[in-house]
Symmetry: C2
Amino acid sequence: MASHGKPRRDRASEYENQIKEIRAQLTDQVKCLDTQVDFRQQLLQDMSEFLRRKAEINLEYSRSLEKLSDRFSSKIRNSKDHHIFRKEQNLLSPVNCWYTLLNHTRQESRDHGTLSDVYTSHLIPRLAHIGEDLSRLSKKSKEVGLQQQEDLLKLVSELQGAMKTYQLYHSDCMYAEHKLKEAEKQDEKRSGKLGEHTASSPVADRGQRRSSLKKSERLVEKRLKKYLENSQKCTKARNEYLINLNTVNNNIENYYIHDINDLIDCCDLGFHLSMSKTMRVYLQAEEKVQMSRQQSLQAVEGAVDNFNSQTDKNKLFEMYSETFSRPTKFEYQPHEGDEVSKVRSEPLLHQELVSRIQHIKSRLESEHLETEEVKKTLKATLQSLLDLIGVDEFDLSEVFQSSQSTESLKSTGSDTSTKTSTAKRRANQQDTENFYVSKFQKYLLGRSTICKLQAKYDLLKEAIEKAAVMDSNISGQV
Amino acid sequence: MASHGKPRRDRASEYENQIKEIRAQLTDQVKCLDTQVDFRQQLLQDMSEFLRRKAEINLEYSRSLEKLSDRFSSKIRNSKDHHIFRKEQNLLSPVNCWYTLLNHTRQESRDHGTLSDVYTSHLIPRLAHIGEDLSRLSKKSKEVGLQQQEDLLKLVSELQGAMKTYQLYHSDCMYAEHKLKEAEKQDEKRSGKLGEHTASSPVADRGQRRSSLKKSERLVEKRLKKYLENSQKCTKARNEYLINLNTVNNNIENYYIHDINDLIDCCDLGFHLSMSKTMRVYLQAEEKVQMSRQQSLQAVEGAVDNFNSQTDKNKLFEMYSETFSRPTKFEYQPHEGDEVSKVRSEPLLHQELVSRIQHIKSRLESEHLETEEVKKTLKATLQSLLDLIGVDEFDLSEVFQSSQSTESLKSTGSDTSTKTSTAKRRANQQDTENFYVSKFQKYLLGRSTICKLQAKYDLLKEAIEKAAVMDSNISGQV
């Protein structure tokens, strides 16, 4: 109604502009959906290419790890020690740990191989299928969409036609009305003149006038008929135009609100589902690798938990039992016919033995004291040494958290301050170790000395006591 | 005592054999411990070499993954779509997922780089330190051990000396006893003769005999003194021998029971602790990688969970709002001066309109029924199609469990039966899809038709009702 009163040219061009805009929009819509499809195809292609390359990288990684673990496993198989250890079925704890480390690496190799296989055999074909499905479905839904657009444009063009017909018939109607009014005016004028002249004009004139009046009435009648005819035609044309207008507007609304939605849904059909299924296969595979890695790491951890120097030492003693078994004691070998087999105190020797045992006793006591001291120092030194060895000098979380890029890693953890502190700690460790070993040697020597003194003391004591018993027997006899 | 009565040669050689055996055992012990140290050094060297190579492999893996993710990330950065999506800050769900996948890969690259760095900067130096510590400590404890062995052998050799002294003195003692007995026998014989001859022999003879007796008694006295002297010497030597014997046996026991244990402990000092600490760094690093991977996989999983076609469609509408916004309605454009703007029923047209609306009504009803049917079929077909797309056709657990080696993988999961079933499923999917799309098109057409008919129906109904009202007004007036 805004265009009410505008020149005809403008009204028609207003529709035309609107139609031009809609046409452009429809074309843009097709283009936009095509772009989306192209974009998705590109995405699928990129992901495929990405996974293809990632599969290669993983296969390469898998092979390198396999070669690595094989190299060291075969080295174990070929070593002579291997037979000893395998036979024993009792691996020393660090060797056992080394085996689990190699197994872990072999498992890593297998898992990355499987990963590579999952990419190649499962994911890439799925992406290809998604691409095929997408291209087929998008083509089909585009066809359906174009059909709908065509229908819409057909309606719009029908609207244009209906409007034109209406305009034409309305013009005709207006013209007929104009003509009718003209005739009516003429007729009115004539019938007025007739009434004016009826009394004064001659009969012949009157007859002439009456026939002219009749003619005019007939014209009015004829024009009225024409007008009514045109008016009806105009009403019909207007009705059609209005119906077409409503149809077009309703169908445009239907197209924009429902059809576009449904067409995009049809084009999308299954895409998100397939994509998410594909990605879930990817995630599942990664999850499996995570689990497998966790398991083989637990095996390594178990081996580390089992590190035990005492058990290893005992295994060593078992393995080399001949080398470490105590030799038979040296037996007393009495000289021909000598029946004495004990240390004997004789009256003339007695005093010497007594003074000797006293000397030994005092040496034994002081040696015990000293060695006990050394032992205490040794124990304390051992603890400090183990503390020095066991000290934690860096935190891996930092190394992992601060690693924002591969480049920045190169220096972390091996920086100068860490190096200096390590060097300091190790120097300290060596000093403590030197002190420990010197104390250790002193301790062993002390223990040997005690052992020797004790051996003498025991025999002398026995002899002296025996002599005392014999003495008292003798004095008792006396 | 078993050797009691054996010839002297055998007794001495028994000790010698024992000593020979001990010497051999002691040498073997040193050799055995040396072998253990060599074995450990070899283990450390193998582990170092293993980690060095594993670091290389991981660095290579890290670089390949970095290059891979960079390649696709830069492709995104350079694409024109990127700007659109980045600006929007509203990524479409598959694109978002693709970004998280690239991020995950970048994180993997970083983690493996860090792993490589941890091997190189932390583990390998630690192993080198363990090797140095081991070599230093084993050398020192070997020296201490050799000193103890030397002491032991010195005791043994002292035992041999003491035994020889004892044997010598016992021989002397026996000889002195023998000589004493000989003199006593002679003396007895002489003193017997003296008693025999005392009454009958001449005085001069008697004096001669008495002096001979005195001489014999002096000899006995002299030999007794000698014997007592030797006997004491023998007792002292036997005492020394017995004391030495006890000392040797005690010290051998001490060496075999305590010293060897302590020497091995000293040589082992810190080895197990350092090894376990090193391995724990390895485990910690792997743990961190596990955690990091878990995190970035969770991000990918989140992106997969967010796959949503409806949200994506709405984002698309937002992004291309101009393309998808409803155009302005076509307005009614009345022809010059025409004041009628509604469909009009006029008496002459009335019947035509009535029969027209009846026809439309019946068409509308049947079209509604038909379209409703099509809609139902469409819905059911959509569900079967989604079921076909969403079907799970393989189990990854099998792929991972059955993978005992990288070689055996190649065929799993991509075997013929799976391929056949996939091909069948996809053929089935395409058939269903074709059916779906044909129904979809039918549905859209039906809806458009309903839309058109409804638009006509609504206007006609309005016009007819209005005409009826006017008619009744007129008849009311009449």
